[in-house]
């Protein structure tokens, strides 16, 4: 049949064009970042990625983002190490244990945690969490285990560790809610089979439910990683913002890629330095894209989200 210019076709085409919004936004961002960073990439070449020195002083310029990539990895790892077990505990509690009367308010509170703006997490981190961490975690660890490189330095509470903890709290809603969906998608027949051979709830969850849902949970974890990597404000406010610091101790101040940009981008005086910040943005974009694509594949495969109504 030939396509005629009916109201139906016009609307369909219009909506189809709009459906490309996300793709267009992605392309615009990628284009701007790539063109914006050509200057620095020409200047520094591969050194931009593997260089450990970020020095904007005119005449002695050197721009290497490795310390900030490492900073991002360190804070995100802390976030996952602390945030993932907590999120899984919450998800398991909500799906497998909680009575209905408790389930609703708790999932409500977890969702509220997601609604808190990141700048408020940062404010709280800067004026409250920081002192908790400094007094109750870092100082004891430093006093008794200070010989261990990870716990060395002067614990001030504004460092990789606190940034990691803030991120851990911030990824809980994402990881917990996706894990919850994954656990809910585990068929009851799996549980019944396990109970029928006399397993306890803990055994059922550990040996059957978690192993059945593991790739979905892995996807949830990766999604959390994506959030942690891209988070800017809260981290910027608590990480101490040491210029140019390769992470050596958890208790030393540092920078992540987003905090580097947030701190320095506007003040950058020369086109070269501006381009260096845009280049850092490009690196961040690539890392985040890879993480999110992996997460998307893992999660959709498990939840088998099928799209589309009747055509």
């Amino acid at each position: 049949m030939t396509k005629k210019l009916t109201g139906d076709n016009i609307f369909k085409v219009l909506a189809a064009v709009m459906a490309a919004s996300a793709a267009v936004i992605l392309i615009i961002n990628a284009y701007i970042l790539i063109t914006g960073s050509t200057l620095i990439l020409q200047q520094e070449g591969i050194n931009f990625l593997i260089g450990k020195n970020w020095n904007p002083v005119i005449g002695r310029e050197s721009f290497g983002v490795l310390p900030f990539v490492m900073g991002t990895l360190v804070t995100s790892s802390i976030a996952l190490l602390i945030g993932v077990p907590l999120s899984l505990g919450i998800a398991i509690f909500l799906v497998e244990m909680a009575p209905k009367a408790v389930k609703v308010p708790i999932s409500y509170l977890v969702e509220l945690l997601a609604a808190v703006p990141s700048v408020i997490f940062g404010l709280w981190g800067l004026f409250i969490l920081r002192f908790w961490v400094q007094n109750y975690v870092e100082t004891p660890l430093n006093t008794y285990l200070g010989w261990f490189p990870l716990f060395s330095g002067t614990p001030l509470g504004l460092d990789f560790f606190t940034a990691g903890i803030i991120l851990a709290i911030m990824i809980i809603p994402t990881v917990a809610s996706v894990s919850r969906e994954v656990l809910t998608a585990v068929p009851d027949s799996i549980r019944e089979g396990a109970y029928s051979i006399g397993a306890t709830k803990w055994e059922v969850i550990r040996h059957w439910v978690l192993s059945y849902g593991r790739s979905g949970i892995f996807g949830a974890v990766i999604l959390g990683l994506g959030r942690a990597v891209g988070e800017t404000m809260a981290v910027t406010m608590v990480i101490g913002n040491a210029p140019n610091a390769m992470p050596t101790s958890l208790f030393s101040p540092g920078q992540t890629l987003p905090s580097l940009i947030a701190n320095g981008f506007l003040e950058a005086p020369t086109p070269l330095e501006k381009s260096a910040y845009i280049g850092a943005g490009l690196v961040l974009l690539l890392i985040s894209l890879i993480i999110n694509i992996v997460a998307h594949v893992m999660v959709t495969r498990v939840l088998k989200v099928k799209g589309g109504a009747v055509e």
């Binding site: 055994e203 987003p258 947030a262 999110n292 589309g308 109504a309």
Partner: protein
């Protein structure tokens, strides 16, 4: 794999307690945040604080700026997101749509500072040449579109197919069916989701940090820097002045009230409706 019955029982109990503990640990920061924001913010709040400009120690320009950003961002972002979501839900059964859906999903977790750089490069350096509310709104709508598209798609998919069939069988056109029958049925979900998305985006700081820069004065034009609540909180928090930091807490209370009232209100409203 199984040990003595008593030990297994004990592990089972322990596991329950641990999971409960996780919930408690996650709720503590939330309660602490709410408590601190109220305790430290509330003493700041008075009419002058809410209406005076930055030089007089008020956050009037920040409140105004956030409202302007919400307005501009909604105008730019919501139509794109909604139409996009309609396509994905109603015509989304093809390769093109599934690609667009994937890209949309990926974009919802986009690093917010990156859209700031992009809007800065396009508007602040390029088209307008100055810091501008428009640049801020563009950055924020980059974040809004994918969330609105997704929530629209999800709401529309909840509309039973029988409703579509009934309309088509009456000889209604597809677009007419969508607008007169499907969208009214999906309306509650779409409004809830969109308001939540706007609330989330309104609290973002990174994209506007690079695009509107901040201002002590009330709105001065589309080619001038502007203030906004999240930005004011961030900038004041780094000042070595107890007074300015206290203002940050006051601003935080207003921001969190805006976001949470919207959040809780919308959820309660939509739940009430479902029950009826």
């Amino acid at each position: 794999m199984f040990h003595s019955y008593g030990f297994r029982k004990f592990k089972n109990k322990l596991f329950f307690v641990l999971c409960l503990l996780c919930v408690v640990i996650a709720v503590v920061p939330l309660l602490s945040i709410l408590y601190e924001v109220i305790a430290r913010g509330a003493p700041q709040i008075n009419l002058e604080f809410l209406t005076a400009n930055g030089l007089q120690g008020g956050i009037g320009p920040a409140i105004q700026g956030t409202l302007i950003l919400i307005g501009l961002t909604s105008i730019m972002g919501i139509p794109l997101g909604v139409l996009s979501g309609i396509y994905l839900a109603e015509y989304g059964n093809n390769k093109y749509a599934s690609w667009m859906r994937t890209i949309n999903d990926i974009l919802t977790e986009f690093p917010s500072i990156v859209v700031g750089i992009t809007a800065y490069s396009i508007i602040v350096v390029g088209l307008i040449g100055t810091f501008s509310p428009i640049a801020g709104a563009i950055a924020l709508s980059f974040m809004l579109v994918p969330i609105v598209a997704r929530t629209t798609e999800e709401s529309i998919k909840l509309v039973p197919n029988s409703v579509r069939e009934a309309s088509m069988a009456l000889g209604a056109h597809r677009w007419r069916t969508i607008f007169s029958v499907v969208l009214p049925s999906a309306k509650n979900g779409m409004i809830t989701g969109t308001l939540l998305a706007v609330a989330r985006v309104a609290g973002e700081t990174a994209p506007i940090l690079l695009t509107i820069m901040g201002n002590s004065y009330f709105f001065q034009g589309m080619n001038q820097p502007m203030d906004a609540l999240p930005l004011r909180i961030f900038l004041n928090s780094r000042q070595p002045s107890a007074e300015l930091q206290a203002e940050a807490w006051g601003a935080a209370l207003i921001l969190i009230l805006m976001v949470l009232v919207l959040n809780i209100g919308v959820r309660l409203a939509s739940r009430g409706r479902l029950r009826r």
